[in-house]
Symmetry: D4
Subunit: 254 residues, 8 copies
């Protein structure tokens, strides 16, 4: 884009383009063309590293098409979330993906070398939370993070949580994933001294109201340093944890 | 009542009352007069021990009137809950009550000797839960229970909870009282092996929704042996805990 | 565990282990190794008596695997809740379970002799509440309780409730199970003088909102001595009722 | 109105008014002028008997003004609901009203002779429901009904409900008023064989959610013959009960 | 029952039964045996006329069984609600029922002669509300009422409502049935001068929240004389309307 | 209608009809016959232009029947919304409709020439909102509007929104359609200076609560000039947008 | 702004500014300076006509300060909404405002001449809705619209609504304002053939839930052409109505 | 603590303490004494830097007492949140605090030198969100962060947001604070490539439901890298942002 605008300014300087025409051109495309370093960054994970496709509501054919384009553009690592096993089978005929059944996700191109500040711990309250946890873990891995999984360490068996105190206290970021009463976030938030991203899940029945109970619990956590993403949003948890685990010094220009 | 009915039956036996008149009398007052061992038992705490008056919405004068009647009927121990300090001052001019400011409750006649199976532990997540906790504790004490208070042992500072493991594991019944995310009930429920009565409180702000968050958490507790009473219902928690702490063998007749 | 720590202390005493190394070892495993008498107690029902498996979300193969381990460890009585008939058929090929269709539950090893303080009454408002009630009743039975079933005694036909006044007033604990408006808990709570565990069910339609109406009713019960568990949580009701029915004197050490 | 239209038609017949002008006149005022027997009937209680003013949000001066007009139009019996004591004092200086503090209502002109089919029973669960009950009772009385008050007969003390079985079974219509869990409507609905109008009240705290719990209970009542009006709407209950208690045969034309 | 008690009293009079034994017997069965004229009346429609079976959650076999018993006891008119077409086909092989597909209901024994005070109008806002309306209409008919159906007279096409002003103003009771915004109840309540039973339906989508929108509208109706039953509860509307349409003078004994 | 009434008045004038009979006739049909220019206008789109059938809940046979009648009455352009592909196939055998799969809608008779004030922009936050958007767009087109589609311009990729600033600022009316957090309405409302009709969609999961999140966002939009229709109500958005795009001067008669 | 950029381009043309410096300058201020015709348009009502200040949460001093600036910038017509009478008194000492108590709003500089397409009708269900209605009406007037007020025409007295059929059918836009059940929007939406902006109000009690009932009703309106703004948002209703009433042809360039 | 345990181990080594007694001692105090580096860390902000006191519900006297203890323990920097101006005045008489009225917070001991990775941007949608924003900003500052405030950059005036693109894209962490529709989080989340902590506020009215609307919006944000804390929880946002801005490499031991 810079090149285009530079050429335009050079044309003005050289008299090849009138000031009025230049003005018109600038006014017509102010947003698409000026100064945007971040084209679709919200979907692009880390430049040169990985892309993610949200599979829900897309047909296998649509996904194959998107993968075609991505690979033609040199993108070799892609995470596809919310992908059913049947759809994965069809996609696999066109692209060499690995399907992770627990996470309902597929990966093209394998995991990059971890290059984060430390380890991301993915902890769940119960075994039913594992699908969401695996989505979070794979997201973090595909984005270049070392991940430790602590599954089924729910607070009702506190010794199981505490048996992993080392991992909890040594983590760089923790993703605390729980349904039902969601107390895991508070307990881990009280033990750890790193940022905790809480992911409520829709696991439970009756007054869990499809994750509302866990969501409210986590938002009201009396532990500091806990923030929350949407119910069942393992990807969101993994993504933000990776961002935090890749923090760098951002200097002010002298 | 028994006496009345016995007299009636004796009158029938003695011919002083016709069978038809007796029949009519029986049909007209079946519920008030026959076989009810439990007259207003839901308000009377334990026979000969204590009564409770729910003070909310009653004027000091009404409370004085009720106390007049109770004492004339030989009731010497009375708990008055949800009583403002101002109202207590007026009542105190007529009856020798002790006012407990934290619990917003007054007691007439002092505590009876504890005669329960063991100790009732009253635990709170934070200091703001203390008014509800004191209502629960006083209720339990006035009903003849030994009470241990564990206040501000919320799960965000788990070591504070765990520092009281002895009391928690030695309790006969535990009343777990917490607002915000209400995780205390699950943590204590996972540690203790006695019944836990959870009391959500309206402590919190924002997404605590006046206790709804804590209530849902407690209902969804993944720990077994936890049941729940209404938001801020310290009395209800203390009352049921006392019932449980006074369990006796109920034999089947041989 | 004791043995390990004892050995370590003996090594310190004998000079075979330095104080610093012992200190380090202690700090690294504080929770897993020290003083926990209660390993997964929240899932273990009563020592030597029964275990429970929450069947929802587990494949028959997973359940068979868990049963394999349990039986190898000498556990002979196991309750499996939320188990579909199809899954039960598969499990039954590997382990000699009895399937209770109403309760959607299976039992391995039969019921133990009742050893509680008295009888647990399981009452329902209607016939549609029976699946939840049977889950509660089986749980209580497998935990060593004598159970009396009073089904379809809803308050809209009050004489049916009152016809069972004897059972209600003679109960040790009552589990009151109802959907729709959940009034059963209040009526029974007003009649009985024992603890009442209320279980709201999702029975109903329209403004019952999948059990919310019954849940709120039960939480707001004007009868004392009533506490509540999650919607449709028959197991939770049966478990806590059993705890209460097995209360014992917990002495203070002299 | 009829007179106006008759005159117009007569003018057409007599040639004093052209057909087109008559047509225009008819089209311009179709609703205000044609065939409406029921001018503001929803606010007028029974023709020649009583009017009602909803006092909430009206100044004493506005109420005095409305009463001026009503009395000038020959209306001598008026019920004013939701009227504060202070406002009543000011209104009383201009009009001879009787203020009923419990009901927060005033009456001008006294009660008419009851002329309904039978007695309307107004029952409440507790004493805190009395303001709503009195609004219902006064509404019914001012509309010409005989009213029996059964207050504080809540289901937690079932014998108190049952002690009034005669009144309940002899009623023409019952208005069942309760807050908290609202079970009264179901119990009375199960006992009575007349229409029951249930009025939930905002009495309660915590999970009563300002009457929502009682409202849902009553809507889900398993007793037939129960319908519900808005929370705290004593007037609505009394009004419909009176309508029902004044039912008459509506013949089909031969 | 009377006979039993009379015999007992005679035995006392005659000396064949001691006073103490009589007392014991009275205390044991107060509720089942004394003064209850109303056995399961809430399910029995009108003595000698009709019974109703709530079909939801019952197997065809269970329904056949209930019908067997009812007919053996001389009950010839039975309404079965919430009955699927498939279930009806099976039941029809055992009992001569008529299935009404719109109402998802079956009738055994046909309609009785109408004997109410007047006509019950069943009005709906749209055509999608007809299943609920037909349940209401059949209930009213089977209970001996003349019914007029006004379907699809919703307020968005007000002239359609007003075209039926005659029926509306001539009705004895009106059942106003609507989903979506439920405005029909208010409009009809404002036009009619008879009791209006409003039945919200779950018809709609999005912010209708399965009937919640219509329910709240109807509860907040600014028209007097409107009361509400549960969402989709056509039976409840028809039942109470019939009760009202069969009101009789209930005299006080002189 | 006018003709009927004119004839009646002429009969009165001519003495062929008595005044009383005329009066009676007027009173009986005030609403259906007098002054209603708008017969079922709420369903009729624009006179002579197009009709719409709401297909949900109607069988293909019913739709064919309605189309039969409409076409017999000279209606040639009809939009059928919420129509499944299977149903469309059956209808297409009887009437020459075009089925639009994305919109789940069919059109009979093609689009009329656009005759509005300007262009209606239909914008969506994501690709999953397209079915609702297409329903809106087709509705607007069938009603005679030029439509510009801006799909997948959600605020998380703001440059995509801004790249269409020309279309947004040049629009006559904008229909902003989004699920999840619904921020599109505020962003577009802040950029545009024309009326914005916001349509929340049920796209999302977890705490989107089937569109509630987007609905609340849009209602709370801090941008002026935004109003909202029901969740997923593409038709409603397109209909009102067309109304606005066809505004004309409505003069007062001189 | 254009001038600035034109100068910059001229400097490039003239060689006074290097291409790189021009590029840098363009990249740094893309949004504030390029092509934005609409600076704070969402708060500015119509260029040269009127501004609005949202008074809630602002001190009188802050409002005076804002007015100082506005008037210095030549803005003479200003609407201040949500302004208490006390605050208005203070502001009036500094600026010559007119306070409208009903609307809780003040106006500086009087109303402009109406220049819209037709008349905006502001209709309310009851008298309690008038404050919201007056906010809407004043907003519309200050923005140059002729306004007709139809207050207290609620649907429970349908003849009152219908008496104004002329105004309703002659309106250019209608703002329908109602609390409680909010049926007014549907009834008016069914009668009128112009856009209807519905404004729910928080008027009501009990199950009106502070306007939620009216909001849901209006969103679910079965009448086409109705859209909704936030509860009590009279300004929003008036603003969008004015936008619609000032629609103009937006031509496509030839 | 270490010292105590070390002494104990030394006693064992020296023979002054038997192995059994040491074992017993270890078992009795496992949690309070072993290996807890984090004593009340959730309340202590950064070791040696700052403490925070949650002022809500504490009397000035209680706060003074806590400050007494803290300062005696060498804590010189303390943040007191949710502190009223009146309370601050009293506290200021005992301790030299600075009160920040906007934030309703006081600071003892001034801000430390910023030592984070970069700048934390605190952005708000409107001016009414400033109290929450200031609580967040002060928290971040007191914890050693450089803070840039971008207030009133709500999305309805998008150019205001975009005018600060430099700050947004240069931030290390962003705290996005907004009430009403909460769209700011999505827009900023789409522009920035750093973690965004969203704080919903209770600013708004009507359907904002005290912050619920903003909360749901933020949880459903379609922008990646956004997580959410409780409504109005400025402290929570500032605390987690500081944690993230102080991330360090956590090495694995070689």
């Amino acid at each position: 884009m810079d090149r285009d605008m530079k050429q335009m300014l050079e044309s003005v300087r050289d008299g090849a383009l009138s000031v009025d025409d230049a003005l018109l051109r600038l006014k017509r495309q102010p947003f698409a063309d000026i100064g945007f370093a971040k084209v679709d960054l919200h979907r692009k994970l880390r430049q040169g590293a990985a892309e993610v496709i949200y599979g829900a509501g897309k047909t296998p054919e649509q996904i194959i098409g998107i993968l075609d384009v991505m690979r033609q553009n040199g993108q070799n690592t892609v995470l596809i979330t919310r992908l059913s096993e049947e759809a994965a089978r069809i996609v696999a005929q066109a692209h060499p993906i690995d399907y992770h059944r627990d996470a309902r996700a597929a990966i093209l191109g394998g995991f990059p070398e971890p290059d984060g500040l430390g380890t991301i711990v993915v902890a769940t309250g119960g075994t039913s939370d594992i699908p969401v946890a695996e989505e979070a873990a794979l997201t973090a891995q595909v984005l270049g993070n070392q991940v430790t999984r602590l599954y089924d360490v729910g607070v009702a068996g506190l010794h199981r949580t505490l048996a992993h105190l080392d991992e909890i206290m040594g983590a760089s970021v923790i993703i605390a994933i729980a349904g039902m009463e969601g107390a895991l976030a508070s307990v881990i938030g009280g033990l750890a001294d790193c940022p905790v991203i809480a992911v409520p899940t829709s696991v439970g029945y009756g007054a869990s109201f499809q994750g509302l109970s866990a969501l409210l619990s986590m938002l009201n956590s009396c532990a500091s340093g806990v923030s929350v993403v949407n119910i069942d949003n393992g990807f969101g948890g993994g993504y933000q944890a990776s961002m935090i685990n890749h923090m760098e010094r951002k200097g002010v220009k002298p």
